[in-house]
């Protein structure tokens, strides 16, 4: 274990209370705006004090509210990539990367050499004398990454490193970032609000909501078993809370769902994919155990599928083909019957 922290920080409307341990791995902090993700990174970098708790790295305390320990940011072996990179606009790319080496007392010549070797690693050797303003978003991100990594930090912090990029460049840059993150030693934390970024870049995901850890695990696990509306929305699942008894879940918001699993009882979460929902104009006679009639609320056409909101006893989203949507003439207000097979419904303890 490298990073071990228990942080309490109140800042305006935010009340951050996070316990987190990170080893030799990439951890994504996933959460909505205002959840406290950036504040968490700033606390770890020493840019924000803690009200309570402690931060230690490799067993060395950096922050301890009880013992009055506080290591100033300049003395922490961290590398931080800020959301809009914050490259110094008046320095060249090479000077930017040499800056952390120079400020730690290394002679100019050697700092320059180390900057150059990192420039080569991020494929920017030919832009060494450019000013940050002349770089593309992807190049600026690589410079920011090189600048954060050149001093070989034990803790690498990345704040939304892909947010400033346009969609076209994103996929390629994300792949490259994954390579650099995988090669970097130490604990690596990446803040994002994008589930795909989290699953591509990180070994493990921590979901942060309202200043609290809402869920932890691999992205695949989190995506299968969301424990909050936020995560369910993010991965596009229908999600409900309810109480299970003998194969039926009574939802907190009203309505019942029949599930295949008879062993789970008590407070549960229920999730199923919109693909698992079939729509028809009359009650079907098939095997689907769950049938709800309701009115279509909205119809969103994507490339190869149509997402349909249905408001009935159990409000849900369904995904159908464009052909099916046409055949059923789905449009807001249209009465339909939504049916879901019990075997398609995942139920797990809350």
């Amino acid at each position: 274990m490298i990073l071990d922290c228990s942080i309490r920080r109140r800042l305006g409307a935010l009340d951050l209370a996070v316990d987190l341990t990170v080893g030799e791995e990439v951890v994504a902090i996933l959460g909505p705006n205002g959840a406290g993700k950036t504040t968490l990174l700033r606390v770890l970098a020493g840019l924000e004090p803690i009200d309570d708790g402690h931060v230690s790295v490799d067993g060395t305390p950096w922050d301890d509210a009880d013992d009055d320990v506080f290591v100033p940011p300049a003395q922490r072996p961290v590398g931080m990539v800020f959301q809009d990179y914050l490259l110094f606009p008046f320095m060249t790319v090479r000077e930017n990367i040499a800056f952390p080496v120079r400020s730690r007392g290394v002679k100019k010549r050697e700092a320059r050499a180390r900057a150059d070797s990192w420039l080569a690693r991020v494929d920017l050797a030919d832009r060494a004398d450019a000013k940050p303003g002349e770089l593309s978003g992807g190049q600026a991100q690589r410079v920011a990454l090189a600048r954060a990594l050149v001093s070989e930090p034990r803790l690498l912090l990345l704040d939304e490193p892909l947010a400033a990029l346009d969609a076209g460049a994103r996929i390629e840059i994300r792949r490259e970032l994954r390579r650099h993150l995988a090669e970097a030693p130490g604990a690596r934390l990446i803040v994002t609000h994008d589930a795909v970024d989290a699953s591509v870049l990180a070994d493990r995901v921590v979901v942060l909501e309202d200043g609290r850890v809402a869920q932890e695990g691999t992205m695949a696990d989190i995506a299968r078993h969301p424990r909050s509306e936020y995560v369910a929305d993010l991965v596009g699942l229908n999600f409900f809370r309810g109480t299970a008894h003998d194969g039926t879940v009574t939802l907190d918001g009203g309505g019942d769902i029949v599930v295949a699993d008879h062993n789970v009882t008590g407070a549960v979460y229920v999730a199923f994919h919109p693909r698992a929902v079939a729509l028809s104009l009359r009650a079907p006679e098939g095997s689907a155990r769950n049938r709800w009639s309701g009115a279509v609320t909205d119809v969103d056409t994507h490339a190869d599928r149509v997402r349909v909101g249905v408001h009935g006893p159990v409000p849900l989203a369904a995904e159908v083909t464009p052909e099916a949507a046409r055949e059923l003439s789905l449009s807001p207000g249209r009465q339909v019957v939504a049916s879901v097979k019990a075997t398609e419904v995942r139920v797990y303890p809350a």
């Binding site: 300049a74 922490r76 730690r104 954060a148």
Partner: protein
């Protein structure tokens, strides 16, 4: 209304004898003294004004609006009044701290070069403070955060990042303060007097020479005008938003 006085000045100027007019002892002394005193007072304004601007921009203390108002006061009060105020603060016989300064350090500010510098600093420093404060406020402090995470201590961060980001405002503030110090008249003549070679700066000399040697007065005026224009032109980008 703005142009006519300038035209008048240029029209009256004896261009052929301009150089000779500037070489008269009175004019030469005045120019040398003006240059020396205005540079000293600008330096003083930087040394005192930058920390003051820092406190006003970054500090959080209850009396801040009041302090800012006091700092900016010399910009709006009539310079003569400023001179009178200086006189009753630093005057050798009747000032608040003047007698003490003289008895303890043998320092006399009235009717001395130091007095000129003090008077010029008094009126010029607010220009520097307000410009630098504005510059400090417009700096994205996250650059300083970034520097800190990159291992730069407070001083290194200030020197290599803050100061660099502040440079345009600082240069503008210096130019404005210097131009104001160079043209200072009221406070100087009231507080430091009008002694050729000691406290008679260029504006004072212009006023005096207008009676006896109008050609020299006009020549000196042209020098001051030229300096003002140079300052204005060099600051145009910042002040009028051209080319930014």
């Amino acid at each position: 209304m703005f142009v006519l006085p300038l035209v008048g000045l240029l029209w009256k100027a004896a261009w052929s004898s301009l150089w000779d007019d500037l070489k008269t002892p009175a004019a030469r002394d005045a120019l040398r003294l003006s240059l020396e005193c205005s540079l000293w007072s600008t330096a003083l304004a930087v040394i005192l004004g930058v920390p003051l601007a820092w406190v006003l921009a970054r500090g959080t203390f209850p009396g801040r609006p009041l302090v800012r108002a006091l700092v900016l006061l010399p910009m709006v009060i009539p310079p003569v009044v400023g001179g009178v105020a200086l006189l009753y603060a630093f005057g050798r016989s009747n000032g608040l701290v003047g007698p003490w300064l003289y008895d303890t350090f043998g320092l006399q500010l009235t009717f001395s070069k130091t007095g000129v510098i003090l008077a010029e600093t008094f009126v010029a420093m607010p220009f520097l403070v307000i410009t630098v404060e504005g510059g400090l406020r417009s700096i994205d402090t996250r650059y300083e955060d970034a520097a800190a995470t990159l291992g730069a201590g407070r001083f290194t961060t200030f020197r290599r990042v803050t100061l660099r980001l502040l440079a345009p405002s600082l240069i503008a503030g210096i130019a404005l303060a210097w131009a104001r110090a160079l043209g200072e008249f009221g406070a100087t003549i009231t507080f430091a007097g009008n002694i050729q070679g000691r406290t008679q700066t260029t504006p004072l000399a212009v006023y005096l020479l207008l009676e006896t040697q109008p050609a020299a007065a006009i020549a000196l005026s042209l020098v001051l005008l030229a300096v003002s224009i140079v300052v204005l032109v060099s600051l145009r980008d910042r002040w009028f938003g051209i080319g930014r």
